[in-house]
Amino acid sequence: MLSHKQNKKEIQALKDLNLKIKKGEIYGVIGRNGSGKSTLINIIMGSIPANKGSKIITRGKMMRLSLGLGVDDNLSARDNIYVNGSIIGLSFKTIGAIFNDIIEFAGLDEFVDTPVKFFSKGMKQRLMFSIAMHADADVFLLDEFFGGTGDEDFKKKSDEAFRRKILEGRTIIIVSHSMRIITKYCDRAIWLNKGKTIKMGKTEDVVTAYKQSFVKNQDS
């Protein structure tokens, strides 16, 4: 965990950041651990206030999606769907209407009322992914959301669902260590290091520069 002092420094460094993300755009955030990616997400979310003088303007409902978070082991799949569904902004009526879709998509038909603690890791991930697919928000912050969810079959299915349900018409900020994912989905990207912007612009350019920095480090 970051110490307070370090955090302060990062937020100040991010003060020089001037980031405009257009509606419908998919934006990537890359950088090593501790580079300020999470701080950036937290500031955008409004869960950490930015320093004085900073202006954060966001429009629409925002939601951060990260796998593994939010499943309560002691609750059944059914209760988890209702809890998580209402956390991500759905009414009970809506959840009721899509309940079967979620279960079917996750392939958990027989385990609706089984406490999640008896689920395998893959089952849990499938459950979370299926719930998140139905999230109701305009802006999504995907924080390492893709973690090799499930088997190949599910990966394929989820990739397609992801494109169809989440990407469509939404503004998305993706934080990931996987350059494959950033390159695959993002229009533009930013590379952060120790809170400072190293490069921002077209995804290809930023990713290439980022990859080169590793090669350089290895050489020296």
């Binding site: 965990m1 970051l2 307070h4 955090n7 937290n42 979310m45 409004g46 869960s47 950490i48 206030p49 409902k61 925002m62 939601m63 951060r64 999606l65 990260s66 978070l69 939010g70 309560d72 002691n74 609750l75 209760d79 209702y82 809890v83 209402s86 956390i87 991500i88 902004g89 759905l90 009414s91 009970f92 406490p115």
Partner: protein, 267 residues
């Protein structure tokens, strides 16, 4: 006028806020009994067995001690269910930011909702306790007075105090984890200065200001008037207690609004 109403409506947040509060409370409550064979039945059995033990202890083993207070077992039990409700709200409230971190981090949510749902889940359990008590007391021959209609206000006061204290403690907890241990001492002190085992007259005789400083002295008094002795309650102390509760709740709320973001960095 129209503007006033509009302003009020705009304060009403997105439609599923109340559903979310209720659902969180519901599953919190459910979780406590999930793994037990008798499940929810425990919420009812537990208080019944407790009253029974108090009854045996104070009517047989310690009969002499309790001689001058009629219905001593009920006298104690009525007070304890209110006190436990308060303590539980405070204890669990203190940890809310830590335990509900996955919510705070992932969606913009009014933080007070988390404390409120926490308190509601405890109120559900409290409801079982109270119901068990009322039935048992009735079987013991207690008849409730008309002032029982003020019960919701007493419960509200207890909830405001417990939720407010929980909010305040949860913020202190961010900076000072040791508050955990300090809390144990405060709870013990509160227990013995709230008149759970003796009537408020003893507290007034000991140090009168305590009657006003510790809202639970008045709460216990009024609770007993309602559901142990079937007599009139003290409306003045009830209003003072309610005001006290509102002040504590408002203080907690403003602290949470100001500092709860630190929980994400520090907890």
């Amino acid at each position: 006028m129209v503007f006033g109403i509009k302003a009020l409506i705009s304060r009403i947040p997105e439609s599923n806020r109340f559903e979310r509060i209720w659902k969180l409370a519901q599953v919190d409550f459910k979780k406590r009994y999930y793994n037990d064979r008798l499940g929810l039945l425990w919420a009812f059995i537990n208080p019944v067995l407790k009253v029974f033990i108090y009854f045996i202890v104070f009517s047989r083993i310690m009969a002499r001690v309790s001689d001058d207070i009629p219905n001593f077992a009920l006298f104690i039990f009525s007070a304890i269910i209110f006190w436990m409700c308060f303590v539980e709200m405070m204890r669990k409230g203190m940890r809310v930011l830590q335990q509900k971190r996955y919510i705070i981090q992932n969606i913009k949510v009014q933080k007070e909702d988390l404390y409120i749902s926490n308190s509601i889940s405890i109120l559900i359990g409290f409801g079982f306790n109270l119901l068990a008590y009322l039935i048992i007391a009735y079987l013991f021959g207690v008849r409730y007075s008309g002032s029982i209609i003020f019960m919701p206000i007493i419960i509200l006061t207890t909830t405001l105090l417990g939720t407010g204290m929980g909010m305040i403690l949860s913020i202190i907890y961010i900076f000072f984890r040791d508050i955990n241990h300090v809390l144990d001492i405060i709870v013990l002190l509160g227990f013995w200065t709230s008149g759970i085992f003796f009537p408020s007259s003893k507290i007034i005789a000991f140090w009168k200001p305590l009657y006003y400083l510790n809202p639970f002295v008045g709460i216990m008094d009024n609770v007993r008037s309602m559901i142990v002795y079937g007599s009139k309650i003290n409306l003045e102390i009830m209003s003072i207690n309610l005001t006290f509760g509102l002040v504590i709740f408002a203080s907690g709320l403003s602290l949470v609004n100001k500092y709860s973001y630190l929980a994400i960095e520090r907890l």
